[in-house]
Symmetry: C2
Amino acid sequence: MSHIVIAGAGLAGSLAAVYLAGRGHEVRVVERRPDPRTSTPDGRSINLGLSQRGITALREVGLLDELWGRTTPMRGRMVHTDAGTSFHPYGTADDEILHSILRDDLNAALIGRAEADGVRFDFEHKVVALDRSLPVLTVHDGQFTHELKADLVLGADGAFSTVRTLLHRGTRAELHQEFMDWGYKEITVPANPDTRLEALHLWPGRAGLVVAHPNHDGTLTATVFLPFDGDDSFAELTTPSAVRRLFATQFADLASLVPDLVEQFLAHPTGNLVTIRTAPWQHEGRVVLLGDAAHAVYPFYGQGMNAAFEDCSVLDTCLAEHDDIPGALREFERRRRRHTDVLAALSKENFLELRDGMRSPLFLARKKADLLLHKAFPNTWRPLYTMIAHTTTPYADALARARRQDRALAAAAVTVAGTVVAALARSRRQVPGR
Amino acid sequence: MSHIVIAGAGLAGSLAAVYLAGRGHEVRVVERRPDPRTSTPDGRSINLGLSQRGITALREVGLLDELWGRTTPMRGRMVHTDAGTSFHPYGTADDEILHSILRDDLNAALIGRAEADGVRFDFEHKVVALDRSLPVLTVHDGQFTHELKADLVLGADGAFSTVRTLLHRGTRAELHQEFMDWGYKEITVPANPDTRLEALHLWPGRAGLVVAHPNHDGTLTATVFLPFDGDDSFAELTTPSAVRRLFATQFADLASLVPDLVEQFLAHPTGNLVTIRTAPWQHEGRVVLLGDAAHAVYPFYGQGMNAAFEDCSVLDTCLAEHDDIPGALREFERRRRRHTDVLAALSKENFLELRDGMRSPLFLARKKADLLLHKAFPNTWRPLYTMIAHTTTPYADALARARRQDRALAAAAVTVAGTVVAALARSRRQVPGR
C-alpha cells in the first residue's frame, strides 16, 4: 500500500482517487476550490457528453448504474438553420449515442464514492510548493501550510496546473499552449416542445456557433461560441441592442426560444478555450500528471472528460501490469501521450467541421456516405467520429485507420473508374460499322 | 521624448538601447546579471557568427567600423571527417561570408556605446513585477525594491524572460517551448596551423556534432553537441575513459588538437537548446518583447543574435514610420513575428543538415549545384542559406522564394527530360531500315 496525494478534486482527480483506493492505496485529495456538493457553480461549463471511453471507465469502477438515471441520451445532431432543422444520427447501432450529464452531478457522485472508499478530501487547500524528488506536496489552507509526504503525487489540477509548473521548473520540459481567438458563454434554454428531441443541438451561424445539450428537466444548456474580436464578436456585444441584433440575424429561432436571452448573455462570464500539450508527464516515478493538466483540448470533439477518464483507466491498467509505481508511470506516459496529442489536433479540426461543415451539403453527404458504408460493412468501415466517440480504439490508432480507409476508398474509386473507362473503350471498339 | 525601461542588457537589450537613445528617448536598462565588462564569463556560448542582418543593424547605429577589428572572417565550412578535410565556401561573392566575434566583446561595445549616448544601466537588478497597463516595472537590487514608471517597457531578458511571463499572466497568450534532446559543451582548441583557415569548422560525428569558430588569437572555440541520454550521451560521458573513447572513435583529429580535452569536457557545464515561439509580443502599446524573449531558436542556422539585431532595426523603422508608440509596436509585431516563426522552423531543420548532410555526398552535391546556379544566375537563383545568412530578405519571404525556385527547377527538369525523350523518339523514327 502506498500513500498517494492527488492535487485536484475535479472529474479526473476524483475518478483517479476511486481507482487508486480500489487498488488498496491510501489516497488523499487536495482541492483549491470549495466542495462542489455544497458550493454555488463557478461558471465553468456545466454540461458534458459522456461517450464510450468515459462510460467504459465508469463501468470499470462500478459507478455506471448509479449515474445512468442522471443522463439524457443524445442520439445525433439536430442542426438548426434558416432553412429549418435536420437530424443526423451519430451512428447506426443503438449504443452509438452520447449521454448528456451535469458536471456537478457527476463530480458529486465521484467524490461521494471516493469518500465511501476511504479517500480523504481537503477542499480550499491550494498547492504552493512541490519537492518532486521525495515527493512532498505543500498546500496552504488559507491559514496554515501543510507538507504532505507521499509515495506518489498525482497532478489532476486542470489546464493551468500548478503541479505541472512545479514539476517542470528548471527542466527541459516541452509546453505548447494555444488559445482560440473564440470564446464561449453559456445560456439556459427553457423547456420547449421544439427542442425536446434527444439530440445535441447545433446552430451553425455565419459569425458564430451554438451547441446545446439537453437536460433532464427538458431545458437545454446552450454554449454560444463567438470570436473575441472583430464584427459580431464578444468585444462588440456589450449592449442589449447589439446582442439582440446578432441573434435576430444569425440565430433567430434560438432567440425565440429564450425570453431572457439578452439578460443572460450580458450577465454570464465569457470563457476561454485552450489547448495544452506537454512533456514529460512524470518525474522519476514520483509525480505524474493526468487529465487537463497533461493535455487540455478544445471541446469540439466532446472528448475532454472522456479522455481524462480514459487516462485513469490506462493508468490503472499500467499499475496492474507493473510491480513498481515508477515502472507503471513510465509505461503510462509511453502508452498514452501520443494518443492525447492526436486528440488535441482532432479537436482543433472539428471546430471547422461543426462551424462550416454543418452548413455544407457536400460535408453532410460525406457524413451520410460514411454511415452507409459503416452500416454495410460494420467490421471494415468505421467513420473517424464513430471510432473516437463510440469505441475505445486509442485516438492515434483511430486516426491511422481512418486514413487507411480513405486511401482504400480512393483506390477503389480509381479501380471502378478504370473499369468503367475500359468497358466503355471495349464497347466503343465493338460498335459495328466503325 | 518618452521614458523607456529595458529589461536585459544582453545583445538585444543593449542594441535596442542604442537605437532608442538615438531617437531622443530617455532610456534605462536593468539587468539581472553583473556588468559583463567587469565580471567573469557565466558559461553561456562565447562565440557568435555575425551575418548580413546583424551587420546591417550595427551599420545603422554606426558601430560596425569599431567592431570590424575584433571579428574573424569565416569564408565557408571546413568539414573534418575520417576521410580528411574539405572546404565548402558559403557563397560566390566576396561579401558572402560570416564573421566570428566574442559575445563579451560585442556586448561590451554595445553597452559602452549606449552609455556614451546617455543610457543608464543598472546591473544586478532583478525584475520582480510588472504592471503592464501603466506600465511600471518593479525591480529588486538585492536590498531595495524600485518601481520604474515608464511610457514603454521593453522585455529583452532572454529565452526565459520574466517580462514575458508577467506580460502574459492571465491572458490568452500562446507559448510553444521545446527543448532539444541534445545539449552542448564548449571546448577551447589551442592555436594550430591545421585549423588556421578562415572557416567555420565542422566535425559531423556518428553520435554527435562539433562546430568550431575561429578566434582572433588563432584558437578555436568548439561547441560539442551530443544527446543527453543513450549511448555516447552526456549522461554516459562522466569519466575520463568514456570521454577519451568517444573522441578517439568519433572525432580523432579534434582530440589530437586539444591536449586537455578530457579535463575541459568534464569541467565545463552542459547547456540546453530551446525553441520558444510566443504571441502576443506586446500589450496595448505599453510593453513589448524582442530578441530571445520573443523568439528563441536553436543555434544551427547561426541566426539567434542576427535575428535579435534585426528585431531592433525593424522596431526602429516602425517607430520612425508611426507617430505613436502603440501604433509602432502593433506594426512591429505584425511585420516581424511571422518571419521569426519561420526562422524557428528553419533552425530546427538545419540541425539535421549539419549532422547528416555534411557526410552525405548527395547533400554536398546539391549545395554545390545551388552555388553554381547562384553564380550563373546571381539575380535569379539564390540558395536558401545565402538568403538567410547573406541578405536581409525577411525569413518567410526567403523560404517562399526558395520553394518557388525548387518548383521552377523541378519544372525545368521535367521540360528538359521531355525534350530529350521527344528528341530520342524522333531520332529513333529516323533510323533507316526500321
